[in-house]
Amino acid sequence: MDDKEKLLSDTLLRRAWIVLVVLTLGSALIAESVDPTAGVVIAVCLVVAIKGQLVIDRLMGLRHAPPLIRGLMLAYFYVLPVLIALGLIFPEQLRRLTTL
């Protein structure tokens, strides 16, 4: 492997890490300063999905893995944030659904 390729790969990993740090600090800022409206909940869940995809594709290196392995991991970060957002935005409906 030549130095150019190695440098590019190191740079991609470092960039992914920096983006993840920035997104985390952004979430912390939201936690400290904004009341969680539906828009904020959706934005935070979107950030979770982006962070998940970055870790799975870049840091975990599943970008070129078999579709089943990558797809199952990505599904976790596409489905769960949606369910969390729905649970947080519509708690009354969830309460009714889960009352025996």
Binding site: A16, T24, G61, I69, G87, L88, R95
Partner: protein
């Protein structure tokens, strides 16, 4: 004990035979690590997903407690731990990149940094629990704190297991068990560690950010 930093004769032969070269990226379309590791990872993330669903259901039945609870948590402890886990994932990714080009010493340094981040996470968690205790909160304060302690302690246990796995993979790297072509054990430990980070990516907003 000096360790090999350049490809050995057998590795060069293998490279020529397959017309390939060492790469920082995992080989395309190959399952990283053993399939058993992926079954374990999927069992673990499913377990946490069920916890998250239970958290949402309990939250919907106790809106006041769950609106008030996160405001009393130490958000900065959550932020620092998120940064530590993301950094540890970066370190383990660099360790994997190093072993793929037979840079054993570099790989060991990055694995050491991964364990360092894990130790930092544990230290922050202890500080956070002490801070909670000093503020008058424990697992029996209310249902929010019961779930908070259950989720975070469970995750902490996974971090400790992950540190043991990375430590063992580091020892095997030091003993020369891994090469650019054969490093499945290290890859398995790395994938498990990334899983721990992925779960925390959801725990952090659920407990500390959303009120």
């Amino acid at each position: 004990m000096s360790r090999i930093e350049k490809p050995g004769a057998d590795a060069v032969t293998a490279m020529l035979a397959t017309d390939s070269k060492p790469t920082l990226e995992p080989a395309s379309r190959q399952t990283p690590a053993n399939i058993a590791v992926w079954v374990l990872i999927w069992a673990e993330v499913t377990e946490f997903a069920l916890f998250f669903m239970a958290f949402l259901v309990v939250r919907s039945h106790n809106p006041e407690l769950f609106a008030e609870g996160p405001t009393k948590l130490n958000t900065w402890a959550g932020v620092i731990n998120t940064l530590l886990l993301l950094s540890s994932s970066y370190c383990v990714a660099r360790a994997m990149a190093a072993i793929r080009i037979r840079k054993v010493n570099r790989c060991l340094r990055w694995l050491g940094a991964t364990i360092g981040c894990g130790l930092g996470y544990c230290a922050v968690k202890v500080w956070e629990y002490q801070w909670n205790h000093a503020s008058g909160f424990d697992s029996r304060t209310d249902i929010f704190y019961s779930l908070y302690y259950y989720l975070t302690l469970n995750h902490l246990l996974h971090v400790l297991v992950g540190m043991c796995a990375i430590g063992w993979a580091g020892l095997r790297t030091y003993w020369g068990h891994f090469t650019p072509d054969e490093h499945e054990g290290l890859e398995g430990a790395a994938c498990y560690w990334h899983m721990i980070d992925l779960v925390w990516i959801i725990i952090f907003p659920l407990l500390y950010v959303m009120r």
